[in-house]
């Protein structure tokens, strides 16, 4: 066996030029596929990343029994929320973990009554982590010691005819199911270009929510934002040991339709990527076939010297494996390197469209993801194709009649 390996290795480097062509073809093909994967994942984050943050983060932690409650916004305080926040912030994938109170209520003024979701946030933390803080078009974001201050969306401001410093009545229910009514002053208006979504949520400071809804020092939710979509499972697994008495909800569970949309898109992209592998596979097969024909004389010589057809075949397969391995490693390194560069530099698409001007949730700049999983989804299939592709020429090589092959020009 060692002899075959040695022989195969020498054969590969004896035809240096041809080997370099095969390896560069493999490498270049894989590099492009890895880049494709990185781009697709990057699009996903550019289009959905901010939306998920605004809709409530990648992961939310609630008290046990939250999901089975009949209410849309049950006020169920968490018992040890600081522990969850600490543990989450220690994880590398976590961008931020913040404490919140979520409840439903009604905003009323002369224009009428409008159902809204009320979210109490820690302004000192979310001012830097929530995309909404960057989309304030009038006034300012909340601060920790705000009193009777509220941040509303432009959609709601339009419907209720509100400007900064205007007041309206916010009706809600305390944890003991008592009606709680309060006149709030608008301190800021956010706008991300989706009126229907902006109509649905108003923000107040956590301290204020705790007083209003009688939850002193308590919260009903820990919201965790991650670096990238798709890291939810890893993070949840890491948090598992301390999840007693808590339940978790990912954005995908909260918005199944969003997940379906994303999965369908990914499904289509996966389907496309299999065709891409097929194209690359054809290239590999072609090159290996050519490599064998070029070496017909050499094979004849091996045969004439007493190497059996089966042994010749093994030799060619080993060569295929070696070429495949070197090419795949080379390509993955190039591709991941390319993705690493564009994950920092980014592609700026905003110039092609003015959608980013008024659809603030969509980022015009796409940063590729590293696509490390492409080692398995790309590298492995191409490697297998290389081996399969080397089988056909290997079989043909082993079948040559030595005397004929020797005369082949």
């Amino acid at each position: 066996m060692i002899l075959y390996l040695k022989l195969a290795w020498r054969n590969i480097w004896r035809h240096r030029r041809r080997t370099i062509i095969v390896i560069s073809a493999l490498g270049f093909g894989i590099m492009l596929m890895v880049f494709y994967d990185g781009m697709i994942a990057g699009f996903q984050d550019a289009i959905y990343g901010n939306a998920i943050k605004v809709l409530g983060g990648n992961i939310r932690i609630h008290a046990e029994g939250f999901s089975t409650s009949t209410k849309s916004y049950p006020l169920m305080p968490l018992t040890n929320d600081q522990q969850i926040v600490q543990a989450a912030e220690d994880l590398p994938q976590v961008v931020s973990a913040s404490r919140r109170i979520n409840t439903g209520g009604m905003a009323t003024n002369r224009e009428g009554a409008f159902a809204v979701g009320i979210t109490g946030v820690e302004p000192e933390i979310e001012a830097t982590t929530n995309p909404i803080a960057e989309q304030i078009v009038e006034g300012r974001y909340l601060t920790a010691d705000d009193e009777d201050a509220i941040l509303i969306g432009k959609g709601l401001a339009l419907m209720m005819n509100l400007q900064v410093n205007d007041r309206f009545t916010l009706v809600g229910q305390t944890v003991h199911n008592q009606m709680r009514q309060r006149t709030m002053t608008v301190v800021g208006i956010y706008d991300f270009g989706v009126p229907s979504l902006e109509q649905k949520t108003v923000y107040i400071s956590l301290a204020e929510a705790q007083t209003l809804y009688e939850l002193p020092g308590q919260v009903t939710e820990v919201m965790i934002s991650l670096e990238k979509i798709g890291q939810e499972t890893q993070v949840l697994n890491a948090l598992k040991p301390i999840m007693n008495g808590f339940e978790s909800q990912t954005w995908a569970e909260a918005f199944p339709e969003l997940q379906t949309a994303m999965e369908t898109k990914n499904g289509a992209m996966q389907f496309f990527s299999w065709i891409i592998i097929l194209i690359a596979g054809i290239g590999v097969l072609n090159l290996l076939l050519m490599a064998v024909f070029e070496r017909t004389r050499e094979i004849g010589l091996l045969g004439a010297m007493g190497m059996k057809p089966r042994e010749i075949m093994i030799l060619f397969i080993i060569e295929g494996v070696m070429l495949g391995l070197v090419g795949v490693i080379f390509g993955e390194a190039l591709g991941i390197g390319l993705n690493a560069i564009f994950s920092v530099v980014g592609f700026d698409y905003s110039q092609y469209s003015n959608i980013t001007d008024y659809m603030a949730l969509i980022t015009g700049k796409v940063f590729t993801s590293l696509a490390l999983n492409s080692i398995f989804t790309r590298g492995l299939p191409v490697f297998i194709i290389t081996i399969l592709a080397s089988l056909i020429p290997a079989r043909e090589a082993s079948r040559h009649e030595p005397s004929e092959a020797l005369h082949y020009v």
């Binding site: 002369r110 109509q199 969003l258 949309a261 891409i276 072609n286 592609f347």
Partner: protein
């Protein structure tokens, strides 16, 4: 020139399997990008068609005071006596031929209260007899659509019904904002459930007769807009400019769906890089195959050069080979791509709702649409990329020294 093509054709024919595989790589590459383009376009065309049917129509006539997204019920923001405007439109013969249907509609915001929950919804007042309601009538899943003089009936989305756990025949309490800022509360009976296959729309839209919405919101004979569908949407600009009237604003589907049209533009610019990646992979296959074939035929090229063929002619020979490959591959790729697109145009790709955006209404299925423009553009792109890729091997062949080449170096 003809000579070179003859020679090129013979060379390709000599290595039939290799030529077919190379051509196949081009075919698959082209077919793939055609499919990607068709699905991207289908997604956008489908969502625009759906938005037109459900919410925007081809043309809307509104009060010039009307502010988008505000859903105001002030009389000055509404269209007074819409029926007389419609009568005028239908009385003018050139317009009447272009217009399929024109009907008044009134939007109002309301709150559904059930148990401890309150959910914000949009009321849509429609003329039950109008054919513009077709998408709802066809989408009835239980019960029946509204009757002309149904004073307390409503039709709600299947999803909203599931959320509230109610069925046809059940009653629902609605708090409706009125034109003077009061809120009027009334119980309604659910006559039917509908689905438009657009979760975000179905979850938040309740249908009621126009008369009833006018009564409950005290807007008398006013409507938010006159909703017009045309026989051909390309006539929109012409019809819009023909409809004139003091105090009215006439909007076309293009004005109202700017966001969608811009999204399409952004999606297309995203896609260019995907097309180029796919074509680059195809090009890798072609380049390497051609380079191999240059090396394999070094002696042959040497002979050609020795008998007086100029470098330029050898270059032409290889380019002729590449162009035959490209044309053959593209022809087959077009046929393959067209067939696959036909399949997806008929059966569609399943997809869920985008979920984040009420303005972007997407169906749950994408039908591929292959346009002549896309086909032409991508075919030319594929040909150019293939030809550029084959330049290097062709130059390599043209630069060989005759004497060295004869020795096979």
């Amino acid at each position: 020139m003809l000579q070179q093509f003859k020679l090129a054709f013979r060379n390709l024919n000599r290595n039939r399997r290799r030529s077919i595989l190379s051509g196949l790589a081009i075919s698959l590459g082209l077919a793939l990008i055609l499919l990607i383009a068709a699905i991207t376009r289908g997604e956008m065309v489908g969502s625009i068609a759906k938005t037109i049917q459900l919410s925007s129509g081809h043309i809307q006539i509104r009060s010039s005071e009307y502010i988008e997204g505000k859903s105001s019920l002030k009389w000055s923001d509404l269209v007074a006596d819409p029926q007389s405007i419609i009568n005028t439109l239908e009385g003018s013969s050139p317009l009447n031929d272009l217009i399929q249907v024109a009907t008044p509609r009134l939007n109002a915001s309301a709150v559904v209260s059930s148990g401890n929950d309150s959910i914000g919804v949009q009321l849509l007042g429609v003329d039950p007899s109008s054919t513009a309601n077709q998408p709802f009538v066809e989408g009835i899943t239980a019960g029946s659509f509204l009757n002309q003089d149904d004073g307390n009936g409503i039709v709600i989305g299947q999803l909203l019904a599931d959320k509230l756990q109610i069925n046809t025949g059940d009653s629902l309490n609605l708090l409706v904002n009125t034109s003077n800022g009061d809120v009027s509360e009334q119980k309604f009976t659910v006559r039917g459930l509908y689905t438009t296959r657009t979760p975000s729309y179905d979850e938040s839209t309740i249908l009621m007769t126009l008369d009833k919405v006018q009564t409950i919101t005290s807007t008398q004979d006013h409507a938010t807009s006159i909703f017009i569908l045309l026989n051909n949407r390309e006539d929109a600009d012409m019809v819009a400019s023909a409809i004139s009237g003091a105090g009215y604003e006439v909007l076309t589907w293009k004005d109202m769906n700017q966001l969608l049209l811009d999204t399409e533009e952004l999606a297309n610019s995203f896609m260019i890089i995907i097309y180029l990646i796919v074509l680059a992979i195809t090009a890798t296959v072609i380049v390497n195959t051609l380079i191999m074939s240059v090396f394999e035929r070094t002696r042959e090229i040497g002979i050609l050069a020795a008998v007086g063929m100029k470098g330029r002619q050898i270059l032409g020979l290889f380019l002729a080979e590449a162009s035959i490959l490209a044309v053959g591959g593209i022809a087959f790729g077009l046929a393959l791509g067209w067939l696959v697109c036909q399949y997806f145009a008929k059966f569609g790709f399943a997809i869920g709702d985008m979920g984040i955006n009420g303005e972007m209404l997407l169906g749950d299925r994408i039908y591929a649409i292959l346009t002549g423009g896309d086909t032409l553009y991508l075919t030319i792109l594929a040909f150019i990329v293939t030809m550029i890729a084959s330049l290097y091997p062709a130059i390599l062949a043209a630069r060989l020294e005759p004497v060295d080449a004869l020795h096979g170096k």
